[in-house]
């Protein structure tokens, strides 16, 4: 996995195996680079990464308290600003969903309102994991937690997720986005984009927690993807209040597929009555899909009969192979928003649009179409023979 080659977040920490948050942190740091100062809320992440005298942090890092991270980061930013260090050095504030949406909401609101040049990252594992899986404002509807347990008269948490994106937008933050560990490429891009923007930024990353969600530790990425593909956790990106990108789904997966592997939803599958609850959750997904326009229009390939005077398919294919793509042109074929998905490998450009392994131009959450993946092949779980099944549509221009 080429994307994980840097280690600003050192191994040896004590996160559970399969921890989505630990993975997300590495991705965030990798994208941010070494010129950042991080303020970290109390929570799993702080505990598993900073047990004195050990520390996983290869960047300057401070933990103060549970609910004040955005304020601590505001202070760091103010100090950097007055000493002329801001800009070169970026500031990231980060915390769990509890530290962000509940107890730390006031200080986050203050930071956003005052307009500090800080990226706030919320690692959303949908409960207070550090203290033993209690419900938070970002715990989803019907999830069973230790303080919103399913029981004879309870289906788990009666409320849905707090709309933190909407709340961040209401502050006028110039960059607000959601991401998922299931889509590292997208996450990487969003962190980089956010850090290019001056002002307060809010990024909420969906991070499955095998311990709290009670799923197999090998399913972290799979489950993260299912949350996105079902419409329960939309991947969104807002610039200056405008939705500039929403990760499209062609055929939304039924929420059941997402819920079933997770113990926190097991009570929904225990009998008939649970079906109603599942239907209610399906409704939540449908509402997200409608609200953010997540459904991708299926492209119907219009069949044009080859008549006299027109080029045949073979001729057209041959001509296509002659097409030369610059890197910038290639980038336009990223598979998003219904665009074709092309990739380059050893000088040739392949069309992977039809492949189920490249939905929306995304491959296993690791690679995005529109790029030269020659180097990445070395780390792939397969060889380049796999490309033979895809049509070649052109050549990649050499760098001049």
């Amino acid at each position: 996995m080429a994307i994980m080659e840097d280690h600003l977040f050192a191994p040896g920490h004590t996160a559970c195996s399969g921890c989505g948050q630990a993975l997300a942190v590495r991705l965030v740091l990798r994208a941010a680079g070494s010129n950042v100062i991080i303020a970290n809320a109390t929570g799993c992440l702080e505990i598993f990464s900073s047990n004195y005298p050990y520390s996983s942090w290869e960047v300057p890092w401070i933990h103060s308290l549970f609910e004040n991270t955005a304020a601590v980061a505001s202070g760091i930013e103010a100090a950097l600003r007055i000493t002329g260090r801001l800009g070169n050095t970026k500031v990231i504030a980060q915390g769990g969903d509890g530290g962000t949406a509940d107890i730390g909401f006031g200080s986050l609101s203050g930071m956003l309102e005052r307009g500090h040049d800080v990226l706030y990252v919320c690692y959303d594992n949908e409960a207070y994991m550090n203290t033993g899986i209690q419900r938070s404002g970002l715990t989803p509807y019907a999830a069973s937690t230790t303080t919103s347990p399913a029981g004879k008269q309870s289906w788990g948490k009666p409320q849905g997720k707090k709309d933190m994106v909407g709340l961040a937008l209401a502050h006028g933050a110039p960059y607000v986005a959601t991401a998922s560990v299931g889509y590292p490429h997208d996450l990487d891009r969003k962190v980089k984009r956010a850090l290019e923007i001056t002002g307060p930024k809010y990024l909420q990353i969906h991070c499955p927690c095998p311990l709290g969600w009670r799923h197999d530790t090998s399913l972290t990425i799979e489950i993260a993807k299912l949350a996105v593909q079902s419409g329960l956790f939309p991947l969104l990106e807002f610039r200056d209040g405008e939705l500039v990108q929403a990760h499209k789904i062609s055929r939304p997966r039924p929420v059941e597929e997402y819920l079933r592997p997770q113990g926190r939803f097991a009570h929904l599958f225990a009998g008939e009555a649970g079906q109603e609850q599942i239907a209610a959750i399906q409704q939540i997904a449908e509402r997200n899909i409608a609200r953010y326009g997540l459904r991708r229009q299926e492209r119907t390939a219009a069949k044009v009969p080859a008549t006299a005077g027109e080029v045949t398919t073979e001729e057209k294919a041959a001509r296509d192979r002659e097409r030369v793509f610059t890197a910038a042109e290639l980038a336009g074929f990223d598979g998003r928003e219904g665009r074709p998905a092309y990739l380059a490998y050893q000088g040739l450009v392949y069309d992977v649009s039809g492949s189920s392994l490249w939905p929306d131009g995304d491959h296993q959450g690791m690679h995005q179409a529109g790029e030269d993946l020659t180097a990445a092949m070395a780390d792939a779980g397969h060889g380049d023979e796999i490309l033979a099944q895809f049509p070649v549509v052109g050549r990649l221009a050499r760098d001049i």
Binding site: I37, P60, W61, H63, V72, I76, A79, I82, S107, S109
Partner: protein
């Protein structure tokens, strides 16, 4: 240096500006407001080059200066009463992180019932937080102690935050003559803040790590040692202060007319000005009385107090805060000082001036009369018997 007649808050704000903090964060609360408004104006007028962060709560005020101090700059905040209680959690954190923040506590009572007037309940409530605490008798001291607090807090032998406590209204809103130092003199006394460690991408460090039982005790030990060292460093700083500003402070405790005193009043803050006048009055009547004032409450000046009180027959301690269910915080500690010591004076103690109740010469003289020939603990010296206490006394 120039003597000026000005409001206490204004004098403090001017002194703060001369200390050149680079980040100020505060949240308004009566009677601290005049200080922070004046600072905001100084920044707005370009007379103070600082980031002034208008936070959404005192919890965040303390957190902002925490972040800024960790990033290596000098910081300031000010609060009182409910604001102090809301900051409480962060105060412990600032101290534990060994960040030399400085604040002015404009002392005020704590709710309920809501009361915006002066006593010491707010700062006393955070006495165990690891902040050093200094109590000003007048506005000149509120200024002088602020400068000394920065020097002491930032001294690498100490590295603990410090609060200068000044009585709400009585000092903060009082117009007094104050000798305002020149910026040049302050620069000589207080050079730019040299952080020992700071958040810096060139040298990435982890601040605020998690400490398990095998490490935590040592952090407390180191802080306690730093408190003890502060008592040793203070006279050094005071000597420097005297040299530059001409005003002499002698240690953490001040004695008044102790020469042949048999009875001594003990207390802190502006009340002690009144107490000194009462001492003068009683002396005129031939009573051998004196006063001892704690300037530093944290670190607790045990040795200096012991030395000052060793030869007196009777001590009367005035607390302006109550440890409900126990007694007077100051009294408890002073009594502990003499526990099983030879020549222990007869110690009486009680409360006065709670929630802004006036403390006059008469209050002190009455307290003296009430404790003649007997020792009493925890009495409310100025309790009114004409106020209906329905449902309270049962």
């Amino acid at each position: 240096m120039a003597k000026e007649i000005l409001e206490g808050s204004r004098a403090v704000a001017r002194a703060v500006a001369m200390c050149r903090p680079q980040v100020i964060a505060a949240y308004p609360i009566t009677p601290q407001t005049h200080i922070v408004q004046e600072l905001a104006q100084l920044v707005a007028d370009g007379e103070l080059a600082a980031e002034y962060v208008n936070v959404e709560s005192e919890h965040s005020a303390a957190s902002v200066i925490l972040g800024a101090s960790a990033a290596g700059v000098r910081v300031y905040t000010s609060t009182t009463s409910q604001g102090m209680l809301l900051m409480n959690e962060v105060l412990y954190n600032l101290a534990g992180l060994r960040l030399p923040a400085v604040m002015t506590c404009v002392n005020r009572a704590v709710s309920a019932p809501l009361n915006i007037w002066n006593d010491h309940q707010d700062s006393i409530s955070v006495r165990d937080s690891g902040w050093m605490q200094f109590y000003a008798e007048n506005n000149q001291e509120a200024v002088d102690l602020l400068l000394q607090a920065y020097r002491l807090a930032e001294d690498h032998r100490v590295l603990l935050p410090a609060m200068v406590c000044m009585d709400g209204y009585i000092l903060s809103h009082a117009w007094e003559v104050v000798d305002i130092p020149t910026p040049a003199a302050v620069d000589t006394f207080l050079p730019p803040y040299p952080p020992l460690y700071r958040l810096d991408t060139e040298n990435p460090l982890t601040f605020g790590a998690y400490a398990e039982p095998d490490k935590y005790t040592e952090t407390r030990y180191m802080m306690q040692e730093a408190m003890n060292r502060a008592l040793e460093v203070l006279p050094e700083i005071q000597a420097d202060f005297a040299r530059i500003f001409g005003r002499r402070y002698q240690g953490p405790v001040e004695g008044y007319r102790l020469e042949d005193a048999e009875t001594v009043f003990i207390g802190m803050g502006s009340t002690m000005g009144t107490v000194k006048e009462a001492v003068d009055a009683l002396r005129q009547q031939g009573e051998k009385v004196g006063a001892v004032r704690l300037i530093a409450y944290r670190p607790f000046p045990a040795q200096a107090l012991y030395a000052a009180l060793q030869r007196v027959r009777q001590a009367i301690i005035f607390d302006r805060a109550v440890s409900l269910g126990s007694g007077g915080p100051l009294a408890t500690e002073v009594r502990a000082l003499f526990q099983s010591a030879p020549d222990c004076p007869a110690i009486s103690s009680g409360f006065l001036g709670l929630g802004g109740r006036d403390v006059t010469e008469e209050t002190v003289i009455n307290a003296y009369a009430q404790t003649r020939g007997r020792t009493v603990q925890g009495i409310f010296f100025d309790l009114r018997h004409d106020v209906e206490m329905e449902g309270v006394e049962g």
